[in-house]
Every structure is written in structure tokens, then in C-alpha cells.
């Protein structure tokens, strides 16, 4: 067992527990975006940062990936954390305003302004889909490629992967695309496009501005 202090409360946890798990166990809320129970932690969105250590050595770390350590002092809502969190959300909002998840997070954390140039990206590279596909669907059909600003998600060689079984798991977990396809069937929050035998997006022209991160789309096979 390891004992650490979170917001002044001592808590014993098992070795291998993350700071996020420990904080949630104590009931301290920490917003997350790229984290999902059942998938391995990845640490991409940086929304879950908490402050550890004291004095000049204090720093922010992503709680979803950082392992609990003996004697660690953790603050989940210091002013430094809140400031960073708001900026992360502002950046997310600037890149992906259409996402319901991001909108909700932003409003829950009182982010009232967005000072960057507005973009409409269809992916924030949170990696949920990749992990879903690999760890839960055991398909490894999609992955990351590139780095920096050209980093993206896709299938090998950008062609429909033999490994993909159109389960729609990737779309289900995607925080950026939840609103994508509800546009023809607004009562459905998740379209399950991949799984849909006759997906709503077959008429390409009609839905040209519909964002889909997989080109060509694994579901509708519309070739760009």
C-alpha cells in the first residue's frame, strides 16, 4: 500500500493506482477527456492535470497517467490547475466547437471566452478510438501516424482495413464526433455509422460538410 495526500486528505491506495483513480475515490472531481474506464490511460488531452509536490518543485502532471507514489502531495484544484484547465478547454473549444462533450465541459468549468481563431477540426487526437479498437475490439484497425501538426488517425495506407469489422466502437467513444451524424436522425446521439448497413451519409454531396475522420470512411466507403 502507498499513502499519499490529496487536497490535504491522506489516502492509502494500492500500488499502480493512478492519481485520477485515487482522487475520484475520495470524491474529488477531475475533468477528463481522453480517459475512459476500461481503456489504458494515455495522457493526451491534458485536461486532467493536477499539481504535485511543493515549493519551487511543484508541477502539473496528468492525473490519468501518473502513478501514486508514497508521500506524494497532490492538489486537484489549485489556482494553477484551474488556470491550466481553463486554457486547455479554451483551446479545445477553439479547435472543435461542434463537440457536445467539449461544450459541456467548457460550460461546466465556466469557460466563457474563446480568444483564438475559430477552427473546426474533426479530431482532437485523443486516441480513444485507437485504444477502443485495439484494446476492446482487439482489431488494431486504426492508429496514429505522423507527428506535430500532421499527426492524424487513420487506417494503414488509408484504405479500408481488413482488420476493421465495422463495429462502430471507435465512433462510439469519439468525443469530437458525437454530433456528426445526428443531423439526419437527431434522436440518435450516436449514429454507429460503421455498423450501419445503410449509413445515412451515402449521398456524399448532400453531406459534404459532414466531418468524418476516416477517409475513406470505413462505413460508407465513399472515396475522396
Amino acid at each position: 500500500m502507498i499513502t499519499l495526500t490529496i487536497n490535504g486528505l491522506e489516502v492509502p491506495v494500492e500500488k499502480g493506482t493512478t492519481l485520477l483513480e485515487a482522487a475520484r475515490f475520495l470524491g474529488f472531481p477531475i475533468p477528463t477527456l481522453c480517459h475512459m474506464d476500461g481503456l489504458s490511460p494515455y495522457g493526451a488531452c491534458r485536461l486532467c492535470v493536477v499539481e504535485i509536490g511543493e515549493g519551487p518543485k511543484a508541477k502539473l502532471v496528468s492525473s490519468c497517467t501518473y502513478p501514486a507514489q508514497e508521500g506524494l502531495i497532490v492538489r486537484t484544484a489549485s489556482s494553477r490547475v484551474l488556470r491550466a484547465r481553463k486554457m486547455v478547454l479554451e483551446l479545445l473549444l477553439a479547435s472543435c466547437p461542434q463537440s457536445k462533450t467539449i461544450q459541456d465541459l467548457a460550460s461546466a468549468h465556466n469557460v466563457r471566452q474563446q480568444r483564438f481563431r475559430q477552427e473546426h477540426e474533426d479530431c482532437i487526437l485523443c486516441g480513444l478510438c485507437v485504444r477502443m479498437c485495439k484494446e476492446q475490439m482487439v482489431a488494431k484497425a486504426i492508429g496514429f501516424r505522423g507527428r506535430g501538426q500532421t499527426r492524424s488517425i487513420g487506417t494503414p495506407f488509408d484504405i479500408r482495413s481488413e482488420e476493421c469489422r465495422l463495429c462502430g466502437g471507435c465512433m462510439y467513444v469519439c468525443p469530437a464526433c458525437q454530433l456528426r451524424c445526428t443531423y439526419t436522425e437527431p434522436e440518435k446521439a450516436v449514429c454507429g455509422g460503421c455498423a450501419n448497413v445503410s449509413p445515412p451519409c451515402v449521398e456524399k454531396e448532400q453531406f459534404d460538410d459532414m466531418m468524418c475522420y476516416m477517409t475513406p470512411c470505413v462505413a460508407c466507403e465513399i472515396q475522396e
Binding site: 490511460p41 494515455y42 495522457g43 493526451a44 488531452c45 491534458r46 492535470v49 508541477k59 502539473l60 496528468s62 497517467t65 501518473y66 502513478p67 507514489q69 494553477r80 488556470r83 491550466a84 486554457m87 486547455v88 483551446l91 479545445l92 477553439a94 479547435s95 480568444r115 483564438f116 481563431r117 482532437i124 487526437l125 485523443c126 486516441g127 496514429f144 505522423g146 507527428r147 506535430g148 501538426q149 500532421t150 499527426r151
Partner: protein, 616 residues
């Protein structure tokens, strides 16, 4: 090459090699690292060899081909031993004359180096200001050894530090020696090497341990590691062998970027030769100590120099940093304990063991011992690789070693630490160059890039340039690193386009500090340095861009106008040069530039002989 079976056999060989050397024999030393070869060293080598053959001088005069000596600007150059005479910027014809002069024991006055400050010719390399103010513990060894001949290395005392360690037979002693030398990692973070080794030595999991030499060197414009790998590959091997002995690690990896073909070639040769001689592999010199090194070629991404990304890359995965803890020292390559050190760190190890920790610690300052190699470039007279004691002031490096400003424009800052370093203004040039002072001043040591900037450098543009680099080089995993850098670049672009506002400047500062705070690896954590340091020291330049729509250095294209003044003689050269046809005027009459057509490329400024084109 006969395999050596014992320490005695090695010592016999070394004694023979040392006594075979005749220090009084005239030797022509030709530096032929990548930089030397690019400027024509290969031709010099060819001519020198042919001349010696033709004149039957091969027993009298020797030629030694070595790695880079550091004074890259003067290359292709020649150093004559034992006299120490230095001839810069040579060509084939001059080489022929040098061979004759060496034969006749003469000095070619007209080919000697001219000190730009005094206008006088300097005969000996050691008297040239560039060399005089340096302490060249590592680089001077590049002059002595032929990197593709292990006997040359051994004949110069090579591998005797390893022998010393094997003879002591106490790993603990090695670690203590490195610890008391005060050596800190030269790869950037300055972590004490002895402490790192101690941690590795204490790891007991019974599955073996790794030592890694980080030769990724992704900083654009930095090449000190390359020069050591090319010029003295055996020093790295010896360093790693000593490290292996001290920490009970048996596997070594040299991770070198694929863009360094000469370094790779020399390493491959060096590894083969040391294996053949029995200095690498199983049961080294019959002592029972085994250590082998393999070479891994990196794909050349900047982020692969980060230690966890480097390990991923060695394992054949995507070069992406991972969460620490667990630290590599506990769980590294293939889950085994791993210690990673920089090329220059490894190169210092045999020096410390051979000369003693106390001797090493005498150089530099308390807490920052030894020397550091910098690649000095930019708006400075002498460019090249310079090795100086730690704690030397920036002023000394810039004026004494670098020779100060090359032209009229005044030096205003140096940028240290590579793409994620910071800019230090001239008012703070009294700052000692060490890990802690540089960090305190908002920059970093990094792996040793040093770019000198003058009044013609726009600090907004500098920050923008580095953000542009990092925008592509961030691995892209952390949202705040990937997007944050893109957004910083976007705002800087606005400022340099004259579209900046004070609000956006505040936003930039806020964003920069959040990027620093919320990213996972060193790349993201230091990516804001160029922005924050220029904002800290050169805010007035930002303000001038925003408020007056003016770029004081005359760099930001959207904010400058080119015009022609009274000096114009109407030579028409500029009009002929302008690709846009923006310059008009009749012969012998003052020309004019049409600001609407002008694309501000500056081509006219370069051709005008009369200083008639003004940038405002």
C-alpha cells in the same frame, strides 16, 4: 588484428604503439569531418598524399586524417605538427606549397591566419584568439587520433582508462570517481552522471541492464556530438565500457541519427575493430567482464532525442515520449533498467578516469565542472565548435572566442539551448554559462547550440521561427503541446504581420505558461522558452510591431518598406535583379521602388554597391 587475451597483452601493444610514435616527425593534420569534407578536405588529402608519394617523402612527412577540430569556418584547413602552424581556407594549389614548406621546414607567411581584430598574421594554432580562449579537453583529442584506426587511438592513450578501471576491480570506485568529478549530463538537463549510474548500479532485477548513448542530436544547426562521433568514436566506446563495468550493465546501444552517415561509418568501423581486438564483447581481455554495443539508427525526429521516446524508437515503436515514472532507470528498454547519456557525457568519462576526478573538477565552477562544447553560429566573426570551461561568461565566448560582431551591426542577444531555448540579451552577457544560471535567465543549456543575434535580427521573428520548427517536431500526443505551439505560432505570425494587439500578446503569454505547465515531456515543457524569453527581454520590440506597425530590425516583411535614397547612381543593377519588376528608373538617374509590387525579398539590397537601398 590479433585478439588480445589479457590486460598485459594490451599494455604490451600500447607500449609498442606509443614507442613507435615519433613526436618530432613532421605531420600534416587534415580535419575531414562532415564539415571539412563539405568544404573540400578530401581534395587536400588526395593532393597531400600524391605530393608526398611523388616526392618520395612518405617516410619523412606523415599525414593524419582526423575529425573536425572545431574551426569550421576556416576549413578546409591544415595543422602542421609538431610546430603547431595552422593554415586556414586552403585549396589544392596551396596544399602543394604546404607540402614543400613542411619538407623545407618553412612557414608560408601569406597563407597564415589573419586575426581580423588586429590585422596581423598568426602562425600557430594555439595563438589564434579563437583557440586561445578555449579549453579543449575533448576536441583537442580529435586532432590526435585517426578515427578509423584503433591503433591510433590506443597509441594516444586510448583504452587506458578502461584498463585502470579493470585493474581497480571495484565498480564502486568508478561510480565514486564520476560522482566526485561533478560531471553533469551534457544532453541538456544536467543530471549528475555519477548519481544516475549509482541508481542503475543499485537496480537488481536479474534480467540485465542497458546503457544508451544518445546521439540523436536533433537541434538544427548543432553538431558537437557529430564531431565527437566522427572524430573519436572509440572514446564513446571506452566511456560506455567503463559505464558498463561500473553499473554491471552488459548491453549498450548507440542511438545515432541516420542523417550522420560519416559518424555511422566511423562507429561501425570502431565497433568492429574493438570487437576484433577483444575490447568489446564477451570476456573482455580475459577479465570476465562482458559488454557489447549495438548501433541503432534513428529516424531523425527531434523528439526522438527525448529519453523515453528514444527508448520507444529503439524498441521499434513510434518515437513518442511516455509517462515518467516509471523512469528508464527502473523500467527502460524492454522493461530493463536503462541509463541514457549524451555523446559528450560519454566522451568525458575516460578523461575523468584517466586524469582523475580532482583534475576534472578543477575546470569550471563549483557544481558545474569540466568543459562544454558549443556550436557557435549566427552574427559572429568566428563560427564553429568551441569548447569552453563551464561557468565562463557569455561575454567571453562571444568576444574572445567568437571575435565579436563581424560587421557594423551591434550584437544584441544570444540564443542558447536549441529550438526550445531562450534568448539572453546583451545586458546579461556577464551571466556564467552553466545549467542553473541559464535556466534562471529563462533559457536552457540544451545540448549546446549558441546562436548570436544582432540588430538585424527581429526577436518576434526568432520566436516565430522556433515555433514553426516545434510545430512540426512536437510528437503531437499532448494536446497542449501540439495545439498550443500552433496557436503561439499563429499569434506571433499576427504580430509580425502587423495584426497584433495587446490582448493577443497577453493571451500569448498566458498560453505560453500553460503549455510549459501542462505538457508531458521536455519538448513541450521548454517549447515556450523562445516566446517567454523574448517577451521578457525584448517586449519593446513586440510593442513596436503592435503599436507602430514597425519592425525595428527590418525583418518582418509586412512591416517594412524598401526605398532608394540619394546614394543611387542609377547603375540599374537593382532594377535588373528585381524579379517582380518593381524597380524603375533611367540609367544614371535615381531609381524608385514601387512598394505595391515589391515583395520585400531584399535581393536589391544585396546587389546595390552604393548603400542606396533603405529598409524602414
Amino acid at each position: 588484428m590479433e585478439k588480445l587475451r589479457s590486460v598485459e597483452e594490451f599494455e604490451e601493444l600500447q607500449d609498442r604503439l606509443v614507442s613507435d610514435q615519433d613526436p618530432s616527425a613532421p605531420t600534416i593534420v587534415i580535419p575531414a569531418g562532415t564539415c571539412g569534407q563539405a568544404s573540400g578536405a578530401n581534395d587536400l588529402i588526395r593532393v597531400a598524399k600524391r605530393e608526398l608519394l611523388d616526392r618520395g617523402l612518405t617516410d619523412k612527412i606523415r599525414v593524419r586524417i582526423t575529425g573536425c577540430h572545431g574551426f569550421c569556418e576556416a576549413e578546409p584547413s591544415v595543422l602542421v605538427e609538431p610546430s603547431g602552424i595552422f593554415y586556414p581556407k586552403l585549396d589544392v594549389a596551396k596544399m602543394v606549397r604546404i607540402v614543400e614548406a613542411v619538407r623545407d621546414n618553412q612557414v608560408l607567411e601569406d597563407l597564415l591566419y589573419v586575426d581580423a581584430a588586429t590585422g596581423k598574421r598568426v602562425e600557430k594554432q594555439c595563438d589564434i584568439p579563437f583557440f586561445k580562449s578555449q579549453v579543449r579537453t575533448i576536441l583537442a583529442r580529435n586532432e590526435k587520433v585517426d578515427p578509423i584506426r584503433i591503433y591510433s587511438f590506443i597509441g594516444n592513450g586510448g583504452y587506458s582508462a578502461l584498463i585502470k578501471v579493470l585493474a581497480k576491480d571495484t565498480p564502486r570506485w568508478v561510480i565514486e570517481e564520476i560522482k566526485s568529478s561533478g560531471l553533469r549530463g551534457r544532453g541538456g538537463a544536467g543530471f549528475p552522471t555519477g548519481a544516475k549510474w549509482e541508481l542503475l548500479g543499485n537496480q537488481q532485477n536479474g534480467q540485465g541492464k542497458f546503457l544508451v548513448c544518445n546521439a540523436d542530436e536533433g537541434d538544427p544547426g548543432a553538431y558537437m556530438d557529430r564531431s565527437v562521433l566522427e572524430g573519436n568514436p572509440h572514446s564513446i566506446i571506452e566511456g560506455m565500457l567503463i559505464g558498463g563495468y561500473a553499473t554491471a550493465a552488459n548491453e549498450g546501444v548507440i542511438y545515432v541519427r541516420n542523417e550522420y552517415p560519416l559518424a555511422i561509418k566511423h562507429l561501425v568501423i570502431a565497433l568492429r575493430q574493438s570487437r576484433e581486438l577483444g575490447l568489446l564483447g564477451k570476456d573482455i581481455l580475459g577479465t570476465g567482464f562482458s559488454f557489447d554495443i549495438k548501433l541503432v539508427r534513428g529516424a531523425g525526429a527531434f523528439v526522438c532525442g527525448e529519453e523515453t521516446a528514444l527508448m520507444q524508437s529503439i524498441e521499434g515503436k513510434m518515437g513518442e515520449p511516455r509517462q515518467r515514472p516509471p523512469f528508464p532507470i527502473e523500467k527502460g528498454i524492454d522493461g530493463k533498467p536503462t541509463a541514457i547519456n549524451n555523446v559528450e557525457t560519454w566522451a568525458n568519462v575516460p578523461v575523468i578516469i584517466a586524469d582523475g576526478a580532482a583534475q576534472f573538477a578543477r575546470i569550471g565552477t563549483n557544481g558545474n565542472t569540466g568543459t562544454k562544447i558549443f556550436s557557435l553560429v549566427g552574427k559572429i566573426r568566428n563560427t564553429g565548435l568551441v569548447e569552453v570551461p563551464m561557468g565562463i561568461t557569455i561575454e567571453k565566448v562571444v568576444t574572445d572566442v567568437g571575435g565579436g560582431a563581424p560587421g557594423k551591426a551591434k550584437i544584441k542577444a544570444v540564443q542558447t539551448g536549441g529550438p526550445s531555448g531562450g534568448c539572453i540579451p546583451v545586458e546579461r552577457f556577464d551571466l556564467p554559462i552553466d545549467y542553473d544560471s541559464l535556466t534562471e535567465a529563462g533559457s536552457i543549456m540544451g545540448s549546446g547550440g549558441m546562436i548570436v543575434m544582432d540588430e538585424t535580427t527581429c526577436m518576434v521573428d526568432v520566436a516565430k521561427y522556433f515555433m514553426n520548427f516545434l510545430k512540426d517536431e512536437s510528437c503531437g500526443k499532448c494536446f497542449t503541446c501540439r495545439k498550443g505551439i500552433q496557436r503561439m505560432h499563429e499569434i506571433l505570425e499576427d504580430v509580425s504581420d502587423g495584426k497584433g494587439t495587446y490582448d493577443r500578446l497577453d493571451l500569448l503569454e498566458e498560453l505560453a505558461s500553460v503549455v510549459k505547465d501542462t505538457t508531458m515531456c521536455g519538448l513541450g515543457q521548454t517549447a515556450s522558452n523562445p516566446v517567454l524569453s523574448t517577451l521578457r527581454y525584448f517586449r519593446d520590440e513586440y510593442i513596436e510591431h503592435i503599436e507602430k506597425h514597425h519592425c525595428p530590425a527590418g525583418v518582418c516583411k509586412a512591416l517594412i518598406t524598401y526605398s532608394i535614397n540619394d546614394n543611387c547612381t542609377g547603375c540599374t543593377l537593382c532594377a535588373k535583379t528585381c524579379s517582380e519588376g518593381a524597380i524603375s528608373g533611367t540609367k544614371k538617374q535615381r531609381h524608385v521602388i514601387d512598394a505595391d509590387q515589391c515583395i520585400r525579398c531584399g535581393a536589391c539590397v544585396t546587389v546595390c554597391k552604393f548603400d542606396a537601398i533603405e529598409v524602414t
